[in-house]
């Protein structure tokens, strides 16, 4: 933030402020993995707004690489913790709270009435009856499709899984992959599994399964995989060899029709030349009509490390990030959905669709398999999903292995 500091000094000089004012500035360190140009700019703007409201606080932002952050956080929380950092709520937060590395911020919730404003995410930031994180954004998952190829083969947008599979026949006849994904990094498979399981067995079952309360060899799990088996023959054959973004051109070029993905993929589709006229979004189709509709919406949040040096200002920052207007502005720049119920959503059709979808979800909001399940279980699970997509006949072996892992992970 060197240039920002210089800017502040220049501004200070211009306003003829005494240098003593700067000497009194309190420093708030903020470590984040929002290193993408757009999120980075959004956060820099948020920090600038915060500094404008609190001229006595100087926020020093330290931006790290996203993948590296996942391992670095264990390191810096125990060695040299910042005052504020970001991480994921629910199960990903649990080991850190258990280890006493997060600061209890329940008072920030009660003092600012956040339990009402952030009601939808209260369950996932609460542990041991206390709140530990402030969620600031989430985004929907669903099926992104190429409208042109739907027209080309005369398929209608499906609302049920049977219709979806029926469409797949048409796409296959036209030489188009009905469903595409890139599973070389494993996680895209989890999106497919989560939705199939949420639609087949519902949110409560899914939550219990990722919490290790249900055996993987359970018949209801098999029912989920039976639905998956229906679409496996219509899925891009070399998915295990490609990354998620390598499958984007397949949709762009019309070689594939549907992609189960998060809303962040829209930017990649549009980069490839798709527009609101050619790119479509559809909620994952209904499988079991008796199951209340649940959705997948990974949530990002900020927290205060237990070793923070400047706790009072960190709490001020927490309350600021939670505010409705701040979340509106932040998410406009992020291109995602604000969590605060008082916030507004941008007029992007995909965001509108997502907001519609998430705000009317009766069943519950899942966080994504690798956040809901513990890390070891998630890894084994996603490896199993990928294997199933290549060798569906190995299901028994896969489920037995996952069940073994469950026995080791949840104790």
């Amino acid at each position: 933030m060197v240039h920002k500091l210089t800017g502040a000094f220049a501004l200070g000089a211009a306003l003829m402020l005494s240098t003593a004012a700067f000497a009194q500035q309190r420093v708030l360190t903020f470590t984040t993995d929002n290193n993408d140009p757009a999120p980075k700019a959004a956060w820099e703007q948020l920090v600038a707004d915060f500094e404008a409201e609190n001229p006595d606080i100087d926020v020093q932002m330290n931006i790290m690489d996203r993948e590296g952050y996942k391992t670095a956080i264990r390191n810096f929380l125990t060695t040299d913790p910042p005052d504020v950092a970001n991480w994921y709520p629910a199960n990903r937060m649990k080991p850190f709270v258990d280890a006493g590395l997060f600061l209890d911020i329940s008072d920030v919730y009660t003092e600012n009435g956040l339990d009402k404003q952030l009601a939808s995410t209260m369950p996932i930031v609460t542990q041991d009856g206390k709140q530990w994180m402030i969620p600031y954004t989430y985004y929907q998952w669903g099926i992104y499709y190429n409208k042109s190829v739907y027209e080309q083969v005369g398929a209608t947008v499906p609302t049920t899984w049977d219709e979806f599979i029926a469409n797949c026949e048409k796409f296959k006849a036209a030489g188009i992959d009905c469903l595409t994904t890139g599973s070389s990094q494993l996680w895209p498979t989890a999106g497919i599994f989560d939705y199939l399981n949420l639609r087949t067995n519902g949110y409560e079952f899914h939550k219990a399964l990722t919490n290790g309360e249900i055996p993987w060899t359970d018949d209801r799990v098999r029912a989920t995989f039976a639905e998956w088996a229906k679409v496996v023959p219509y899925t891009t054959a070399n998915h295990a060899a490609i990354d998620w973004q390598d499958a984007v051109p397949l949709i762009v070029q019309g070689k594939a029709a549907n992609y189960v993905m998060g809303n962040f993929a829209v930017a990649a589709f549009k980069e490839g030349g798709m527009t609101n006229d050619t790119l479509g979004f559809l909620p994952f189709p209904t499988i079991n009509p008796d199951v209340p509709r649940a959705e997948e919406a990974p949530t990002d949040a900020v927290f205060i490390p237990a070793g923070a040096k400047n706790v009072p200002d960190a709490k001020k920052f927490m309350a600021f990030v939670a505010r409705a207007d701040v979340q509106t502005k932040l998410n406009e720049a992020l291109g995602q959905l604000p969590v605060n119920s008082g916030s507004k959503v941008g007029d992007d059709p995909f965001l509108q669709a997502g907001f519609q979808l998430l705000s009317t979800t009766p069943g519950g909001i899942a966080q994504f398999f690798d956040r809901d399940a513990p890390a070891e279980m998630a890894k084994a699970g996603m490896e199993g999903f990928q294997q199933f997509m290549i060798q569906p006949d190995q299901l028994d072996a896969i489920l037995t292995r996952l069940e073994q892992v469950r026995g080791q992970v949840y104790k």
Binding site: P37, I63, M64, D65, G68, V252, G272
Partner: protein, 281 residues
Amino acid sequence: MFPRPIQQRSQAAQWIYSIALPLALILWLFPLLGVAVTSVRPASDLAQGNYFGIPSYLAFENYADVFRNTPMLQYIRNSFIVTIPTVIGAVALSLMTGFALAVYRFKANLLIFFMFVAGNFVPFQILMVPVRDMTLNLGLYNTYAGLALFHIAFQTGFCTLFMRNFIKALPFELIEAARVEGVAEWRIFWFIVLPLMRPAIAALSVLIFTFIWNDFFWATVLTTSPDAQPITAGLSSLNGQWVAAWNLVSAGSILAALPPVAMFFLMQKHFIAGLTLGAVK
């Protein structure tokens, strides 16, 4: 003379040579060529699946984006701040150890020399945890000094091997003659040995510079923030949250590769002299 000049070979051999050489060259340069082409490929090409074709236009803005999106200048500066003291430190230390081990006969001479050599055979990955803990306890974690000190310590082993053998190959009579004249030992080192070591110093400096500049492992283990991270670790920050921006990473990689390449060309004369010196007596 070896190798025999190609002009003296048979016609067929010359033909095969002139076909095989460009072929091998292209094969050898292919990955680099791929990186170079990707570095000027617009992001839209990648999203459209145009990975290996002709870029739809030459996106030189990738190079600007590298500097705009990440503190790349800071990373490059960090790399220099870590690399230059390391080169100076490792070469200076190894000149002294090399001189001592080559010139003086004492009991543990060979043992100490072997210890320096043996250090090279320790896979540095197994040092990761202890070294990280040590730098942390010394308060050097995520600092230039921590990274540079470790590199100096680790590289001195190899440099000592190099320098000791080099000094050993110098005519010992020079040193003896100086001793007869009553020249102090440190003056022998400074005025007789050091000037003769110039090609070796140049060669080793280029080598160590490249080693340290290209180090990725310790850069990721011992540094965490752009304040101290060298460019090799910083390159990964070009990748986004969701999208791997291969065009930007390629552009960044080319920028990162420039200093060692420039170093090699500038010092080429010394480099080759250093490698072949002492080969022919």
